[in-house]
């Protein structure tokens, strides 16, 4: 159906006005700031061209944050997808008790990241924490977790995966329910074993969901802040400082707005790049 914009305006403006005011204009404004050396205080802007962007690539803290972001991103997305699908496979058909298991695995997603990260920081305590106590019981020496630059990122990743697995699993359960039973029957007749059925029926049939979940979880992981703030504040010695964390430090601790917004746009470029790569690879393995 055709409609004139003026008639559609009543339906479009309740989103359109705040979208313009709080998303579109600010983002364009940010892009502008990233070419200046604005510090929040001074009036007027001093144009510095691409200096902020070039300067970033000479700073070791930026390079470290970039690597940390990639480590954190892959370290979070891959286990989340694998575990999410793994658990979902159990729940393809409902059985007695399945609802309770799903409920428990999903529950972390509902809770505030800051509050549960505080609980995890107690669990991670090297001397008194439960995790090291349990490891000790089975004869594994405890780790320093958040206190060591070797293990801090791993600890942050564990918390993030813990929060995301249930959400991912629910999407996979929805996808698995839609796989026609006849495909499995046909595979059985052809003499396929469980692994072959998974490899040749399940994986291809859920590939659009996998693609979607990789994109969404990547965006979520690039935007992770709360758990890092609570667990490590980016430390020890910058080992858990991601690009987004660096952005906040530059913007609201250093008041270096130019450099901060430049970082934000680099995050955006990475997001677009990863989505694009994923799409390109996806064209090969996703069955639409």
């Amino acid at each position: 159906m055709q409609i004139k914009f003026s008639k559609a305006a009543f339906f479009l403006l309740p989103v359109g006005i705040p979208l313009t005011l709080f998303w579109i204009i600010p983002n364009l404004f940010s892009l502008g700031i990233s070419f200046t050396d604005w510090d929040f205080m001074t009036n007027g802007f001093h144009f510095v061209g691409l200096d902020n962007y070039f300067n970033l690539f000479t700073q070791s803290s930026f390079k470290q944050a970039l690597l940390n972001t990639l480590y954190f991103g892959f370290g979070t997305v891959i286990p989340t997808i694998v575990l999410g699908l793994g658990f979902a496979l159990f729940f393809r058909k409902n059985f007695k008790g399945s609802a309770i298991y799903k409920l428990m695995i999903f529950s972390p997603w509902v809770t505030p990241t800051v509050a549960v990260s505080i609980v995890w920081s107690l669990l991670y305590e090297p001397k008194l924490g439960v995790i090291n106590t349990v490891l000790g019981l089975v004869g594994i020496p405890g780790l320093d977790w958040l206190k060591s630059s070797e293990t801090a990122m791993l600890a942050v990743i564990i918390v993030t995966v813990w929060k995301l697995v249930g959400w991912t699993m629910i999407f996979y359960i929805g996808a698995l329910e839609k796989v026609p039973e006849s495909l499995y029957e046909a595979a059985s007749i052809d003499g396929a074993n469980a692994w072959q059925k998974f490899r040749n029926v399940t994986l291809p049939m859920v590939s659009p969901t996998t693609f979607f979940l990789i994109v969404v979880n990547t965006i979520v992981s690039l935007q992770a802040y709360d758990q890092i703030k609570i667990l490590t504040q980016g430390g020890p010695s910058g080992s858990t400082r991601t690009l987004l964390y660096l952005f906040f430090q530059q913007a609201f601790e250093q008041f270096d707005m130019g450099s901060a917004t430049a970082i934000a746009f680099i995050i955006l470029i990475i997001t677009i790049l990863l989505s694009f790569i994923n799409k390109k690879i996806g064209d090969k393995w996703v069955n639409y």
Binding site: M1, Q2, K4, F5, A8, F10, F11, L12, P14, V15, P18, L19, F22, W23, I24, I25, N27, F29, S30, I33, F87, F90, A99, I100, Y101, K102, M104, I105, S107, P108, V110, T111, P112, V114, A115, V116, I118, V119, W120, L122, L128, V130, T133, I170, F171, G174, A175, P208, Y225, D226, I230, F247, A251, M257, T261, A264, F265, I267, L268, T271
Partner: protein, 275 residues
Amino acid sequence: MSNHKKTPIIIKHLFLAISSILFVFPFIWMVLSSFKTSSEVLQGGFWPKEFHWGNYQEVLGVIPFHTYIFNSFYTSLIITIYVLISSALFAYMLAFYKFKGKEFTFGVVMATYMIPGAVSYVPVYVMLAKMGMLNTHFGYIISLSVSVFGIFYFRQAFLKVGHEIVEAAKIDGASDWKILWKIVFPMTRSSFVTLGLVTFVENYNNYIWPALVLKDNDKKLITNGVADFFINSSLGRDWSHIMVASTIATVPLLLVFLVLQKWFLSGVSDSGIKG
């Protein structure tokens, strides 16, 4: 059932039971620790020797967490209601009408979804400051009143309703407003519930943006209250009191989730993605 079929089922249940307990273990530990004395928390025992309900009184006596919870609930609720209505209106136009600039409008919405929220924080912060709306719930609420995800989600749901029904109603003389709320809404009710829950949870759990714009003590949200309580205690942590704060922040949402679980667990994934 023969024996060799029973064993895998037992193993399956055992595996799932252990895994699910691991997932909720942090909550169990949190609640149990909140009833212990501080030194008892650090001794690492599982069950509290005695339940110290007084911990809750002590914490609530110092920090007004009940105010923070109220702030979080009501701001999230207003945001959720506005997001539901405005996204539905917008998605209705995208799903059922053609108009000049539609492709462009949808393109802009798509692009915005990719941009990290952080990109706009600085200008929006400055804008709220200039409008005198820093430290007000109103400023906070309007700055979060768009959900790009919501627009996508409703558009997918509405497309499934199909053009024919809308066009038939149109011929019968129904207005778009009526069609949306009397025909489309009843057919997509579960999408509304799901998006409502997701939006509410996300806003209730929001931390960094409210930390920047709501600084006054009586304006704070629960996430900021808990985080500040934790960060300010970095010298000499009273873990039992900190666990009380975390419990206060977490348990209300877990209860909401328990009551409405079927909507979370069935609706979330049903967003129209194939496969």
